[in-house]
């Protein structure tokens, strides 16, 4: 029953549904994903709705985790769900408190044992589609650890714990409040069974703790919170109640989606194209000077006869040059140095606190080497965006970001080179930028570096939504044409049935990722 999740990094606890039963035994703060995350923002670039938040309260061993698990199971196709356990939010203890805890004389069942403001802050961030770095509490050490666990991108959040309905700040965040009602004797029986079997305690010890702390806490703090609940669920034989809850959540989710579908940023490329004004002026959109050398480079890259070896070499060379030009967009400040000739020289230095790269997999990869040639030890995060075979919507499948972005207080001062080979419809660029903004990156600290941009593609939608984001590219193509890829499904694997709709830039340089990697 304890939050034993110790991983502090990344968005990595992605369990497939078939692993659900296993993962639930050990991981309470878990992100569960069945498929990618569809757009959660409108054409204006702003998020269209918050995540749906469920608070589940109830006595110890009343079956809260079971209820949470059953809700997740019956929701089925919701893309990402986080189960947030109250256990993570025990306070940072003093030496004396730790000694008491080891002697089983510390009252963990009192509301004061929990860091409620932090619980509410983390939940509020997650609800608003922002990242959160939740604390990790060790029951072995009876202490909050230095590490934190990064969570981002859940559409549904379940917060559970005995005090989940106790704190007004938490209750204000819930879209649905559930209280799991269970008879005290049943809860005690379950508790004895669990603590003796799973934690090697003696029956006497369990009973003593129950009478000293658990029972009074339940009577004084937990049970009274049931009056805040929207629905009270029995602690056993509760399948009907769970069905009711899931139906309610599904309907709420559908209503939100339906209400906002017409505002979806990338609902159809055709409409984006209608909005395209072909304008490419402005200081936030930079096209490299079209020198003979650059034209020569693009001729090699566009030529279908170019060998793979040559293509890779020229891409790396161009990427390095593009990044050098992108670096010119960073702020600089004055610096005075003394040269080896003992002369004072007034020069400049980079005036940025943190800088990192984020590559949109797979086509951002060909720009990574260039970035490393210019910033040798730069951290490079990655995002995987694929388009849905049926709707054409982009889906966010994977997020792995450097610490400068994961932590909100660092993200504010972080500059990001966002790398993707081309901007056609702009759908994945849009999603990538929204993801960075969700993390607290400032719009004008994002520099999108790309080889090729379609003049009449999603560029104008992108620039209208995010006017502060700078885009730098080596060439602009006039055409964007719809095509049908027969043998590839949405994962890009060979697939002999169906196919998928894609947008092809013309004249373009073909599929840059394929030509660079395959």
């Amino acid at each position: 029953m304890l939050g034993e999740e110790s991983k502090s990094d990344l968005y990595d606890v992605e369990e497939h549904r078939r692993d659900l039963s296993e993962s639930f035994q050990t991981k309470k703060n878990t992100i569960l994903k069945s498929h990618g995350r569809p757009p959660w923002y409108g054409e204006d670039g702003l998020p269209i709705c918050d995540a749906f938040v469920i608070g589940i309260g109830g006595g110890s061993a009343s079956g809260k985790t079971h209820v949470a698990r059953q809700i997740v199971k019956s929701l089925g196709s919701i893309p990402t769900i986080v189960i947030l356990s109250q256990d993570s939010f025990y306070k940072h203890h003093t030496e004396e408190e730790i000694a008491l805890a080891h002697a089983s004389r510390f009252d963990f069942d009192h509301p004061d044992a929990l860091d409620m403001p932090m619980f509410a802050a983390c939940l509020a961030d997650l609800k608003a589609c922002r990242q959160s770095n939740i604390p990790v509490y060790s029951f072995a050490e009876h202490q909050r650890l230095d590490e934190t666990k990064y969570l981002y991108g859940a559409a549904v959040i379940i917060a559970e714990g005995i005090m989940a309905l106790h704190e007004p700040a938490l209750r204000a965040l819930y879209d649905l409040k559930v209280f799991v009602q269970c008879d005290s004797d049943l809860m005690l029986a379950r508790r004895i069974q669990r603590d003796v079997k799973e934690r090697g305690r003696s029956v006497e010890g369990v009973l003593e703790q129950y009478l000293r702390y658990v029972k009074p806490a339940f009577d004084n703090f937990v049970l009274p919170t049931s009056r805040h609940a929207d629905i009270v669920v029995p602690g056993s034989n509760n399948s009907v109640a769970i069905e009711l809850i899931s139906t309610h959540i599904r309907r709420q989710m559908n209503e939100r989606a339906g209400h906002f579908r017409k505002n979806m940023a990338v609902r159809s490329v055709d409409e984006c194209l209608k909005l395209a004004d072909g304008k490419s002026e402005g200081s936030s959109f930079i096209v490299l000077p079209q020198t003979p050398q650059l034209k020569g480079i693009y001729t090699i890259l566009r030529d279908q006869e170019t060998s793979r070896e040559n293509f890779i070499f020229v891409v790396d060379r161009l990427a390095t040059f593009l990044i050098e030009k992108a670096m010119e967009l960073l702020p600089h400040k004055k610096k005075v140095v003394v040269t080896p000739t003992e002369t004072e020289c007034s020069g400049k230095e980079l005036d940025v606190k943190n800088i990192c790269g984020v590559s949109v997999i797979r086509s951002g990869g060909p720009l990574e080497k260039g970035l490393q040639q210019v910033l040798s030890d730069v951290a490079i995060g990655s995002l995987l965006v694929q388009s849905d075979a049926e709707t054409g919507d982009p889906l966010l499948l994977h997020v792995m970001l450097p610490k400068f972005i994961r932590h909100r207080h660092l993200a504010v001062d972080t500059w990001v080179f966002l790398l993707d080979a081309q901007i056609g419809t702009g759908a994945s660029a849009f999603m990538a930028i929204r993801t960075l903004l969700d993390h607290g990156i400032q719009q004008d600290h994002i520099i999108f570096v790309t080889f090729l941009v379609a003049r009449n593609g999603g560029l104008s939608v992108l620039r209208n939504a995010f006017p502060g984001v700078k885009i730098i590219c080596g060439a602009v193509d006039e055409g964007l044409r719809e095509a049908w890829l027969e043998h590839y499904n949405s994962k890009g694997e060979e697939h002999h049935e169906g196919g998928r709709k894609v947008w092809i830039m013309e004249p373009g340089m073909g599929h840059i990722g394929d030509r660079y990697y395959l």
């Binding site: 279908q304 010119e328 140095v337 040269t339 007034s346 400049k348 210019v374 013309e506 073909g510």
Partner: protein, 227 residues
């Protein structure tokens, strides 16, 4: 050849000779120079940041090579009216510091041929003297990127050009790639070889009494290879 100071820098950013081209004098470029000028910069950083400038110099130098129109078919089946490079090139580095620019050259021009020239001051005459040279046999038919990071008085660079011309290379087919130049050296060099294009990253204030570039960055070869 007095240099006029500009607001953000005590170094003149504009090239005063028609055959001399500087890189765009951006804050970013100035920051790169500030790192390599700083006497406290480690050798590792010196190598990394000077390489970044050298790549930009080579990219700029290649812009001065002629191109011819070339139409290609893209993988999408469209036609693209592009250009292709005409003529073959080679690099020639003036030892020892010029060798430091070879890696940057090869990052831009893969497996390009590189010749070497060693020129030192003759102690008796105080004039630059050729000590050693190994050049591609067909150098007369190639465009030559002549590499030397520092142009102070221009003595050894001018000697190197003379050697290239003796090997049949046309003056207008030589592009001199240089990191930091003194106005005195640039004047002498470009007056002597007006058809030869010079690509330099930064033009410094001038020379001191020992003929070191001021503010300069010290002895490039020494900092790159020895310190």
């Amino acid at each position: 050849m007095a240099a006029t100071a500009v607001k953000t820098s005590q170094i003149t950013p504009a090239a005063p000779f028609p055959s001399v081209f500087t890189l765009p004098q951006t804050a970013q470029l100035e920051a790169l120079y500030t790192i390599i000028r700083d006497k406290t910069t480690s050798r590792g950083d010196f190598i990394f940041y000077s390489n970044r400038i050298i790549r930009l110099l080579v990219e700029e130098g290649l812009n001065h090579l002629p191109v011819v129109p070339k139409a290609v078919e893209t993988p999408t089946g469209s036609k693209y009216e592009g250009v292709s490079f005409e003529g073959r090139i080679c690099g020639v580095s003036i030892l020892r510091a010029g060798e430091a620019m070879e890696a940057g050259l090869r990052e831009v021009c893969r497996s390009v041929r590189i010749g070497k020239i060693l020129i030192q001051r003759d102690e008796e005459t105080a004039l630059p003297k050729l000590f050693y040279s190994k050049l591609p046999e067909d150098i007369a038919s190639r465009y030559v990127l002549l590499l030397d990071p520092m142009l102070a008085t221009g003595g050894s660079a001018m000697k190197a050009v003379e050697i290239l011309k003796e090997h049949g290379v046309l003056e207008e087919r030589i592009i001199f790639i240089n990191l930091v130049a003194a106005p005195e050296g640039l004047k002498a060099f470009s007056t002597k070889f007006p058809a030869l294009r010079v690509i330099t990253g930064w033009i410094d204030k001038g020379l001191n009494e020992k003929a070191y570039i001021i503010p300069g960055l010290g002895d490039f070869g020494e900092r790159r290879y020895c310190e």
